[in-house]
Symmetry: C2
């Protein structure tokens, strides 16, 4: 233990904007049913217009709009009923001047018609004659053949995870497969002589089960990645370097796109981690201006980004959310992670912070009047970062930005909610 720490420290903002490895996962074509939240490799164009035919949006009668001009309850237009369009079928009859054709919502507009009068403004007073009591403008009661999507237009953009509604639009356009980035394979390496697998029934004094790897696997999956567990590496000189070398060489069943090391928490072990990573690639920073989470290492080894996390699970998870999750998305071709749930709340008490450092504070929300979230209060949860339960008891976290020296009680804050 040297007792002193020397960091190439960066701010979280610098890490998020500056540590952007060029590596992207390969692309692969997957069925639409497996494409939710996957990132398309590029925009997907429509090969034909949608809906592809002029389509009624109401139950009523297809007409020539000019035939209804001036129609009113007192002076209706009388139109000859020439036939009806069936759902899903091509119209078999055209609308002639002075005539009309019955159409249900969603049916094709017959030739000759330029509007649809809603059934509510009509009556069949004599068999074969429709009385229209409201005028319609051309284009009323229908969507044009290319109004949903024009041929050649993008159905969905590239680089943004596919949303449920987008799967619908792709299906509507007959797109049943999408070329998407493969899920980033994220190697999770645990280190520490004190760390034992979660299935260890009984702990000896000094031993702890590996909490970080399971929680990281969850965050990786949420970010669209595939966690790959690399096990627990002991604190022996050379052991981590050997393990990392194996991971980079494909020992985990193939190449990985990101390596996350939950490093030992003591200074000596951190130095060992830095040494192992530096021996295999370039260290981008060693230390982030964040609390908790300062002893974070960012590096690139053989084109693969490596994130060395602090030893405490709480600190490790805070940092991975802020720095690792955007990286996983970025590796999958998505430059901007999808939005996270947030809420506004009033801070229950003063919070101190050092200028130049991002503070991440776990909070519980106390509901406002009548259980609304609108008037809710954010209660900071304190405790050593060795306590994972501080994180699991929290409803979310707030961030005190770098320039601030604290936040006053009563301030309205944005709380990022866990889900």
């Amino acid at each position: 233990m040297s007792g002193r720490e020397f960091f190439t420290a960066r701010t979280v903002a610098e890490a998020r904007s500056g540590f952007r490895p060029a590596h992207r996962t390969t692309v692969r074509t997957v069925p639409l049913a497996e494409a939710l939240h996957r990132v398309p490799a590029g925009p997907v164009p429509a090969t034909a217009a949608l809906p592809g035919f002029d389509r009624s949006t109401v139950d009523g009668f297809a007409v020539r709009a000019a035939d209804t001009f001036g129609a009113s309850d007192g002076l209706p237009s009388y139109l000859d009923l020439l036939g009806a369009v069936r759902m899903g079928a091509a119209p078999e009859v055209a609308v002639q001047p002075g005539g009309c054709v019955a159409v249900p919502t969603g049916a094709a507009l017959p030739p000759g018609a330029d509007a649809v009068v809603m059934v509510e403004y009509t009556a069949e007073t004599m068999p074969g004659t429709i009385e229209v009591t409201r005028p319609v403008a051309a284009g009323a009661g229908l969507v044009r053949a290319d109004e949903d999507v024009a041929a050649g237009a993008a159905l969905v953009p590239g680089g943004r995870p596919l949303r449920a509604a987008e799967l619908g639009l792709l299906a509507a356009a007959g797109v049943t497969e999408v070329t998407v980035h493969t899920r980033p394979r994220v190697a999770i390496v645990s280190t520490g002589d004190e760390v034992v697998p979660p299935d260890t029934a009984t702990l000896r004094p000094g031993q702890v089960r590996d909490a970080t790897a399971s929680a990281l696997a969850g965050l990786v999956a949420d970010a669209g990645g595939t966690p790959v567990r690399a096990g627990i590496v002991p604190d022996e000189p050379g052991a981590l370097k050997e393990a990392l070398g194996g991971v980079l060489a494909g020992d985990l069943g193939g190449p990985v796109d990101l390596v996350v090391v939950s490093a030992g928490s003591s200074v000596g072990v951190r130095d060992e981690t830095t040494g192992a990573v530096a021996a295999l690639g370039d260290v981008w920073c060693h230390g982030l201006a964040i609390k908790p989470g300062k002893p974070t290492l960012l590096a690139e080894c053989e084109g693969v980004p490596v994130v060395g996390l602090p030893g405490n699970p709480l600190s490790a998870l805070v940092v991975f959310r802020l720095v690792g999750v955007p990286l996983v998305w970025s590796l999958a071709g998505c430059p901007q992670p999808p939005p996270e749930p947030t809420t506004r709340a009033r801070l229950s008490r003063n919070l101190a912070s050092a200028a130049g450092r991002l503070d991440v504070v776990q909070v519980r929300l106390a509901a406002g009047p009548a259980g609304t979230t609108a008037g809710s209060t954010a209660e900071p949860l304190f405790g050593p970062s060795a306590l994972l339960s501080v994180l699991t008891r929290a409803d979310g976290y707030l961030v005190i930005p770098e320039p601030a020296t604290g936040l006053a009680g009563g301030t309205e804050v944005e709380v990022v909610l866990y889900r």
Copy 2:
């Protein structure tokens, strides 16, 4: 086409609070690695305290706090270095009065010690003697054996989807399997003579590919359910009743927990849907005070909730988000769906609404100054609800609540963001 609609109409709030089928999915024990966002059947208790031993949170020296009282740079305390604790190992030496033991962060506190002095406030001026220049209080620099979780306390609550950090805490406690509700199996039944499968290469005039089923499958998956496609039922008398009967009888490879019918959009077809559902069970409401989405049917058939959605994909998806998604969560034992991403924005223009009706308005966000979301503007997207692209072009939606008759331009609104 009758031209008139008779509804047993309800508000969305009534539907969300009142339409709560008692049915819950069964429970099953799954490995921790598959438990993310699954709903535990009940609280999971800790069988032993965590971390299980008094644990150092700093690199330093375990001491008796009383031996450091009054220590300062000018008048240090001198303590005999009695040994060191290794990571992951039981301490082999106790702290005697006037002595200290070196401990790394995360190691077990040796017997006899009640505090840890950070290495920063010490020096080994002579071999075997540690100079302490700051006093520590009892309990400083450590967490107690039960400080993370006490034996018997709940590690996670029941009824709330498991979060990433909770997987970590469960792993730390040696819980490698969790008993969770099985994923609700949600049958998706499409109807309509005009509706053809998404893999139909060329459409005849009047035909549309099934967009709703693919989008619904995405929303169901997001809500933790398993979508099961039941195909497309034609608009023939009796066909839907027969199809629903088969779904309820287990034709889709076993029982289902929820049936969603994307009903035809014309009045006549809606009546047919109501008739089919009424023949098999009890209709709870036919019509919701929501725009778009009014022609929504809620029913229970043989204990299984049935949601009949409007024929337009946009309307169907709006209603399913508000009414169906909470149902899916509830069926899995989660009374309150997890939070969704939201943001605040200023409305770009006036919006009208009828009192007594919930209006759901799709919006695009225009970024505020310097790309911040804080000052962003919500631009309503208009267009017939027949246009699915209105939904896919939107960044999210806002809700005009039932009592309001509209919202004034410039009002700050909460936008639920799509992801």
